[in-house]
Each structure stands twice: as C-alpha cells, then as structure tokens.
C-alpha cells in the first residue's frame, strides 16, 4: 500500500517543553523541522507545572551549581548518573537566561533580577541549609514557558502538525532511526515522516495508574513506540507519588490542607498517622504518609465499597479558615468527590505524579542501548528529552523543579546533538518498502477485529492492577501476582476492538492506539519493580526495610545499577550507574535522609 511520505531534516514528536526547546535549536540552525502533537502546543501537560525551574543563579542569596548537583544526586538516592547531573545543573543558568530572552515573564526582584523562591530539597553548601533556587512565573511557570517557546518556534519557521498522533518509529535494516509514521486525526490518513533525525519529547505515562495527577494525554506514546521498536526502557520502577489525590479522580489536594490541620482517618475514623508517626502525625514527610495510607488500605481499613481510599478530614476546621486559607479546595471536593469538605471528609489516595525512568539517553540527548558489550551504544538518528527520556538525572527520585530544568537542558541538548550530527549533510537514508506496514497492520487489526477487548475496560484493568500491585508502597507477593495480572491485561491490550470505524476524528481509534502504548509502560514498570529487591528513592518495598546493614532498605552492593526492560521477551538487563561526574569529584554514597 502506498502512503504519503513527507521529508524533513528532523521530526520532533511532542510539543511540550522539551519538544519546543529542541525545535528551536533545529529550526534556528536552518533545518527543516516538523513538530507533531496530539494537541495544540500550549495545551501540552507542561502547562500544569507550577513550581518553577531550578537554577543556581544566586539572585536571592549565594548559590552554586555544585550544591544543586549535590541535592540532585542525593534526591536521586544515588541512582542518577553524575555526569548527566553535572551537565544539567551547569547548563541551568544559561537555559533560564535564554528563556528570559525568549520573553518568559519570570517573577522579579526589586532590582529587576529573576526572583527565586525556596523549594523542598534545595539546599546550600551540600545540604547545610535551605536556599532560594526556584525561578517561577507566578503559579503559571509551565504555561508561560510554553508560550515563550512556541512564539520563538513560529518565528523560526518550525512546521507544526497539530492534532497528529505518531504511531511507530521507522528503523532501517542497520537499526538507524529514519522517521516515524503518524496519523492525522482530522482525516485518519497515515503518513511517513522521513527524516535524518527523530526526537521524542512525548512526556510521561502517568495514566498507567488508577490514581494519577497526570492529564489524560500522558499515555507514554514515545515509550510505547520505542519499546515496539526494540529499544529497552530504563528504570521504569521509579515513579513519584503525592500522598493526597482525590480518590477516583487523581486531582491533587495540596499539602497545605494537612498543614492547616487536616487529619487522615481510616474506615473506623481512627487518626491512623498517630501509630506511624507519633510526633509529626499527619505532617510526616510525603513518603511516610503515603506508606501509612497504603498499609491501612492493604490491611482492610480503607473506606468505601471497595475499601480503597482513606479520608482527609477538615470538618473540625472553621469554614472561614477553609475558604480563606485553602482557596479552591471546597470546589475540588465538590467537583471531583461530590463531597462538601466543610461537612464531610474527602476521599484520598496516594497518587502517581511523575515518571523518573524512560527511553535511555546520554546527556547529549542521543538514545543509547546496550550493544556488543557497550552499555551505551548510540542509536543513530534517534534522540529523546524530557519526561519520556531517562538521562538519567532523576535516578530513583526527582528533586522538585528539576523537571522543567530537565526539559530545557535536555531539549536543547538533543536539538544541538541533532544539528551537529546532521552537519555532515548526509542524505536521507533509504526508506524500507515496509516502513509503514506495522502501523497500518495495527490500525487494520483494530478496525477489523470482532469479539476483542473493550478499550475502556482494558485501561481500567491495567490502572487498577498498577495501583494495587505497584503503587507507592510495594509488597513482594503483590508484585509477583501483579506481574501475572499485567501480562494478562497485556493479552487483552493486544486484542482491542473498536466499534467506530470512521476515518475522521475517530477518538475511539486514537484511544485504542494510546492504550497499546500505555500497556508497554505498565508492563515495564511492574516487571522492573518486581525484579528490584531493594528499596531506593521512590521504589519502597515492604520486604526491603530499613536495617543497620541496609539503611532505608537500600542495597548498593547489589542494586546500584540501572534497570533496562526489553518488551519483546520481557527480559531485564542492568547497566552501571555513572558515578564519575564531568569535572568534579564523585558525590560519595551515603544514606539519604532529610
């Protein structure tokens, strides 16, 4: 079957922060650049980022990139690659200032410099005391960032393909990536983007969990495409969770609610945090609270018909205090839980927020895979940046405000690397005759299958399995049974059926294609988590507890290594963590405590 071929120097999949930042480098270098996005660029999930972007500008007080590096390595629980982390923190100031020059309306100090706020985990002098390092634009940092970069791209003549969904990577016989297949939603037409460079910036896949703060768009499309093309996924067991998302909806309840006196209760209305953290109680750290909530639910003291959430109670607070000090909370309760929190407690669960793992990359943005004994062999023509990539700077747990920094630094870096690699002017590599066959076959199967699995039900089965078996606090037996269950769900996800066969704006088909990506991420997460028999960062196992031999359950002798999950045969290999930074001494292993 002959399908249209569009030739570009580069295609970027995803128009969030990382994609837009990459595109600027390519278009300004004069390369013919296409950006594909499922939605209009300024409707990407980067818009939801409020916290700010970390950079040791030192505008408010003394700061240094080396201190930022220390905080990032410690935050990662030493799983982050120290060369990539040094690269990122040293590029931070340059990237923030560039963004300012693109027109980003950062908050300012009285003397006109970029204002910097304090943020959890940001410390001066190697963990000594808090430092103000986060640069923000009111509470709309991500939104302002996207607007500034979109406008810059328009000026640079980047060509946007809006409401297009990328389907599969195109690789030739030598393994070079030479483009993607994609579908225009308005027509259902499949097209090949034949390129010399392909950059994935598709964001995270938080929708694999039942409770997620991620918007519906975060379906891990880049990870699914990479996995189907034989690229392993790195460190997928590591996901950051927030303790209090509205049960069933995922919408975040700010930690300020507990700060104002909110109390967590189980099905017998018991204030259970008194048992887990007698001093801090409900104000204990995020991980302690999340673990306690999970234990209550797992031991049958959850609330509701399925006993699968706990309650956040503020009914004892003065209604005026709630309205004044916690603006918007009452509306969130009414909209997403059907509960007036002035009169009734809110149903909450630990909720997935951020994906630390992803497509393995070097800090240059080039995708790397194990090959012939080399752990980091470059896949020619393929680059990735942002939440879909694993550089790895976040390791086992991300430091707050490093997500926006990641997409700026590695978006730019991936763009620069592509520009450098294309300098030689090499022609487009020949497109295999079957370049689009796999994508077309997937669509044809969806359209023709009878008696297959329902997309909505399959997604729900996946999300419930992930939430129960690989949530914020993990148990060996639950992970084992979770592996079996997710492999069952995978079978269904490979047999999806849709009833709408129309070409134009077939959202059922698009959601089925997204589901085929989500299941790749869910499977990688479950199997990687089951295999890692220690606790580290965001991966906390009940059977790897805090002991004198293994503080926090972390076992560096056996597990100071990155996981690589291969979808084709569900196998796992490992590669070493890069402990050697670029120019400074390694930050030596020690117990992570705050």
């Amino acid at each position: 079957m002959s399908i249209p071929v569009l030739k570009f120097d580069a295609v970027i999949v995803g128009a969030g922060g990382a994609g837009l930042r990459s595109a600027i480098q390519l278009s300004e270098a004069g390369l013919k650049t296409a950006v594909l996005s499922k939605v209009f660029p300024t409707r990407s999930h980067t818009v939801a980022a409020q916290g700010g972007v970390a950079a040791s500008l030192g505008n408010s007080e003394e700061d240094h990139w080396h201190w930022h590096m220390y905080d990032t390595v410690k935050g990662s629980d030493w799983l982050g690659d120290q060369d990539a982390i040094e690269f990122m923190v040293r590029k931070a100031n340059e990237c923030v200032v560039e963004l300012e020059h693109y027109g980003m309306p950062f908050d300012r100090t009285d003397n006109g410099k970029i204002y910097q706020r304090p943020f959890g985990g940001h410390m001066s002098n190697f963990g000594e005391k808090p430092v103000r390092r986060s640069c923000a634009a009111a509470d709309r940092t991500g939104h302002a960032m996207l607007h500034a970069m979109y406008q810059r791209n328009v000026k640079a003549n980047t060509q946007f393909f809006v409401e297009w969904m990328a389907l599969d990577l195109v690789r030739d016989a030598e393994g070079h990536v030479i483009g993607v297949t994609a579908m225009e939603m308005e027509t259902g037409q499949v097209v090949i983007f034949h390129t010399r460079a392909t950059i994935f910036a598709t964001g995270g896949a938080g929708r694999i969990f039942y409770s997620s703060t991620n918007a519906f768009i975060n379906t891990g499309d880049g990870l699914g495409m990479a996995a189907r093309a034989g690229i392993p996924l790195e460190d997928m067991e590591f996901w950051q969770f927030h303790p209090t998302g509205v049960a069933g909806a995922g919408v975040l309840i700010t930690e300020g609610v507990r700060g104002e006196g909110g109390i967590l209760r189980n099905s017998s209305k018991e204030r259970f945090m008194e048992r887990y953290a007698p001093n801090a109680k409900d104000l204990a750290s995020r991980d302690v609270v999340s673990r306690a909530m999970t234990t209550e639910i797992n031991e049958g003291r959850g609330c509701g018909v399925n006993k699968d959430y706990v309650l956040l109670d503020i009914t004892h607070l003065d209604p005026n205090t709630i309205m004044k000090r916690l603006p918007g909370i009452r509306e969130i309760g009414l909209q997403f839980a059907g509960v007036d929190c002035i009169k009734e407690p809110l149903p909450v669960v630990p909720t997935c927020h951020y994906q630390m793992g992803g497509i393995p990359t070097h800090y240059s943005g080039r995708v790397v895979v194990p090959h012939n004994g080399d752990h980091n062999s470059i896949v020619p023509g393929f680059y990735a940046a942002g939440e879909c990539a694993c550089a790895s700077v976040h390791g086992a747990n991300r430091l707050g405000t490093n997500s926006l920094l990641d997409l700026l630094v590695f978006g730019k870096s991936a763009g620069d690397s592509a520009v450098e690699d294309l300098k030689s002017g090499k022609a487009h590599r020949e497109l295999p005759k079957d370049a689009a066959d796999k994508s077309l076959a997937r669509i044809a199967a969806l359209d023709s299958r009878k008696g297959g699995a329902n997309v909505h039900e399959t997604r729900l089965a996946m999300q419930r399995t992930m939430q129960t078996h690989a949530g914020v606090f993990r148990f060996g037996d639950l992970l084992k049974s979770g592996v079996e269950k997710i492999l069952e769900v995978e079978k269904a996800a490979r047999q999806l059926e849709i009833t709408d066969k129309s070409m134009a704006w077939n959202t059922a088909r698009t959601e089925a294609l997204e589901m085929e990506n989500l299941i790749e991420v869910a499977k990688a997460t479950m199997l990687s988590a089951e295999a890692r028999k220690e606790s580290r960062g965001a991966h906390v196992r009940d059977d790897a507890p805090d002991t004198p031999e293994f503080p926090n359950g972390r076992n560096d002798q056996e597990w100071l290594k990155h996981t690589l999950f291969n979808s084709a045969d569900n196998s796992i290999t490992y590669k070493p963590v890069t402990m050697q930074p670029l120019t400074v001494e390694p930050i030596a292993l020690k117990t992570r405590s705050y």
Partner: protein, 80 residues
C-alpha cells in the same frame, strides 16, 4: 452539530493540559452538552478554546464571567 465537528470538539475536551478540565469537560460532553441549543453549543465551543488555567479558574469559581452567553454554560459546568 456535524459528527466531525462534534468529534473534533470531543478530542479538544478529553485531551487538555490540566486533569481537572479533562474530567469536567468529558463529564459535560457525556451528560449535558446535547441538552444545549445550537447557540449555547457554539458558546461552549468557544469556552473550550480558552487557555486551561483561565477556564479552570472560571469553572472552579475563582473567576466570574459577565458574558451572558457564557454564564449559563459555566453554571452548568460547575454542577456537572
């Protein structure tokens, strides 16, 4: 509304930047949108085109609209 126009609108409602809007707008499309007359449907299409933060402030009651075309839609979205 033509099928293609409705499906385009649907996609633009179920894939927002903010989860809050994904949920509220999807719910409204499934339960409420077809009760609007043509003019109200057009007003909803315009609202769906707003920036996510602005639209969420409106729906969550942190802002009010004086536009008589939008006000009844916003009132329904708040209750949806």
């Amino acid at each position: 509304m033509e099928r293609a126009d409705y499906e385009r609108l649907r996609w633009r409602c179920i894939r927002r930047a903010l989860l809050e809007l994904d949920i509220v707008l999807t719910r409204f499309l499934d339960n409420g949108f077809d009760q609007l007359d043509e003019e109200q449907q057009q007003a909803f299409v315009e609202l769906a085109d707003w920036e996510d933060h602005d639209l969420w402030r409106l729906i969550s009651g942190q802002e009010e609209t004086r536009d008589p075309r939008y006000a009844p839609i916003v009132a329904r979205l708040r209750k949806s």
